[in-house]
């Protein structure tokens, strides 16, 4: 369960006060696949950062599985991220000096798992994304789509409850984007809650719920099937 109530995020400089988020209310249930859309600068990424405990907020409350996020210190937040949240980034964020195996291994080590357990999880998750035979390759030897699959494998290996995806197909061509989307849907079907930020309405349409953010507020929480931009599919 992820519940945001009257969430606010304000950036202050000496002269200006910018409201990145205001009166932000959202509840994401177990097993949801929520897409977050909105124009550039609407606060999508700020929302995702706060949801993923990457950034703090300035007002309101955010409960993640009964934890009041505001009360957690950095270490507890790191732990929560590690155990409950998986990330998928637009530019993949694989570590270029590490091979695929070691890349997927990164979050598992932070959790302190034993080496046999880690090996099992890494192999399984890489196999799940279809890269089981390339564990010794470096990210630079892969295509963009393959790199994003590795990133997904890295997120999955930790068996997170929440998967946060930030424009996961933004750097991919349509063919690759499609296969990544298919993969995400599969993962969602297996019970992982997914929150995906995207500017692509076509992707948003494939999720179970869309949230439209504008000027730091949720303007329009619509059911996918009543979305104004729904295609004639």
């Amino acid at each position: 369960m992820l519940i945001m109530t009257n969430l606010e995020k304000t950036f202050r400089t000496d002269l200006v006060e910018t409201h990145a988020l205001r009166d932000f209310n959202l509840e994401v249930k177990e097993g949801d696949f929520v897409s977050v859309t909105g124009p550039s600068g609407s606060g999508k990424t700020t929302f995702l950062n706060i949801a993923g405990l990457l950034e703090s907020y300035t007002g309101g409350t955010y409960m993640l599985d009964d934890y009041n996020v505001a009360t957690l210190n950095d270490k507890q937040r790191s732990r929560l991220r590690n155990e409950k949240i998986g990330f998928i980034f637009q530019s993949f964020n694989l570590i270029p000096d590490l091979n695929l195996f070691d890349n997927v291994d990164v979050p598992l080590r932070y959790r302190g798992l034993g080496s046999a357990e880690r090996k099992k999880r890494i192999t399984e998750s890489l196999e799940k994304v279809g890269l089981g035979n390339r564990m010794k390759h470096l990210p630079s030897q892969l295509s963009g789509g393959q790199q994003q699959r590795v990133a997904i494998a890295r997120a999955l290996a930790g068996e997170p409850r929440f998967l946060l995806a930030d424009e996961p197909t933004g750097n991919l061509d349509s063919q690759m984007a499609k296969s990544v989307m298919t993969l995400l849907k599969e993962i969602n079907l297996q019970g992982t809650t997914i929150i995906m930020v995207t500017h692509d309405p076509e992707l948003a349409m494939q999720t179970s719920r869309n949230v439209f953010v504008k000027d730091g507020k949720i303007c329009d929480a619509a059911d996918v099937h009543t979305m104004p931009l729904a295609s004639n599919q």
């Binding site: 950034e55 991220r81 990330f87 990164v106 598992l108 080590r109 302190g112 890295r154």
Partner: protein
């Protein structure tokens, strides 16, 4: 252990071999220099700590050179010594041919039997009277001191020797290695292979004039005054009286007999400083080199690590997003440095020993004590860790939100 990321760090390092190798080499050469320098420093320091046996803080000496046809050395020396010894604040004063640790003096070789090819022992030779023990602050630990009637005048160009001598314990042991030093008293040694001298007393400690000499502890005293226009007085004062007496005696002596030059009025502390100056300079220079070198290496590590932190900002943010605590990020950089240092220090141990061997070969340096090496390793390891700490802390403060930023 899995949190320690040893394997991934090592594997990531092989992707950036050159950077790691450069730091490792730098650490290796730094270790080579500072360990050898430290050894030389300690060696020189130990050398400088050697005790001359004199009451150095309260002693000084001066040279007087008389001129003119009517100069009478014997009368002047006798009267001078009498005057100086009666001056309040003076503990004792002697005429002496050479000053310990001053760099200039007399030496000769002694044998324990006569004949051309007898093994000889080199020793410094001092000539003074029965006040020697008091002025030079030594004790007779066996046998007896000179008495006034032992002392003779050695005329200019006189080449024979008195029949009595005091020797240091170290010299006695070198002359008669088979028997305890106490038994040397009463034994005869030969100067210039044929002139016998009887050892009448053993001195606890008195150094030769040459601090670099291997026989520094070898000294022999014969009971005689030197007849010479140019003569040296060694004066020991009561504590705190030295500087006053230096000025006072210089003018008193000059006034008493104007046809002479009084020169080189010098304290023993200055003499020690001058004799050991080369070594204290070496210590200062090497200490500076050690300090600067460690600083350069440390600053180099800081610079390179800072650069790496900047370059890996996104990666750090990603790691944080994936659940790395701030501690884990710090640990990562510290561990990375620890591994690079380990490689460098391993090479450093080899190079240190190699440089030491080269120094032994080319210069008069002795072999390094083994424990300098582990100390050097630990010190540089710590320096490396401290140098990395700053950039690592900065890395740990990279906001995790940087991971979602698309540049």
């Amino acid at each position: 252990m899995s949190r320690w990321e040893l394997g991934p760090i090592l594997r990531a390092m092989t992707r950036n071999k050159v950077g790691a190798i450069l730091i490792a080499l730098q650490i290796a050469v730094t270790m080579t220099i500072i360990v050898n320098a430290a050894y030389i420093i300690v060696e020189r320091h130990t050398m400088m700590q050697r005790d001359s046996g004199l009451d150095e803080q309260n002693s000084f000496y001066l040279t007087t050179t008389g001129f003119g046809a009517d100069f009478e050395p014997k009368r002047v020396i006798t009267e001078d010594l009498d005057l100086i010894r009666r001056t309040p604040g003076v503990v004792d004063a002697i005429q002496i041919n050479a000053i310990p640790i001053s760099g200039g003096g007399w030496s000769m070789s002694l044998t324990t039997e006569t004949g051309d090819d007898a093994d000889d022992v080199n020793t410094a030779n001092y000539m003074t009277d029965e006040h020697g023990s008091n002025a030079l602050d030594f004790n007779i630990i066996a046998g007896s001191d000179f008495v006034a009637s032992d002392v003779r005048w050695r005329e200019r160009n006189q080449t024979d020797w008195p029949d009595k001598a005091l020797v240091t314990k170290a010299l006695a042991e070198s002359l008669f290695p088979e028997s305890p030093w106490q038994e040397s008293v009463g034994k005869t040694v030969y100067i210039a292979e044929d002139e016998p001298v009887i050892i009448t007393g053993i001195i606890d400690k008195l150094q030769a004039p040459w601090i670099g000499w291997s026989n520094l502890e070898h000294a022999m005293i014969t009971p005689e005054y030197l007849v010479s226009e140019s003569t040296r007085y060694f004066i020991r004062t009561e504590p705190g009286q030295r500087d006053r007496l230096m000025a006072e005696l210089e003018s008193t002596l000059a006034d008493k007999y104007p046809n002479r030059i009084i020169r080189d009025v010098t304290t023993l502390t200055d003499t020690r400083e001058r004799s050991y100056r080369q070594h204290s300079a070496m210590i200062t220079i090497l200490t500076t080199v050690m300090f600067l070198l460690t600083l350069v290496t440390a600053v180099g590590i800081v610079g390179l690590t800072s650069f790496n932190v900047n370059r890996r900002k996104k990666q750090i943010g990603t790691r944080r997003a994936l659940g790395a605590t701030q501690g884990a990020i710090i640990r990562y950089f510290m561990l990375e440095n620890l591994l690079i240092s380990a490689g460098g220090l391993l090479l450093g141990v080899v190079l240190t020993i190699a440089l030491n061997m080269a120094l032994i070969e080319w210069f008069s340096i002795t072999a390094l004590d083994w424990f300098y090496i582990p100390i050097g390793v630990v010190v540089l390891w710590v320096v490396g860790q401290l140098a990395v700490l700053g950039p690592a802390l900065r890395a740990s403060r990279v906001p995790p939100a940087i991971a979602t930023r698309t540049v």
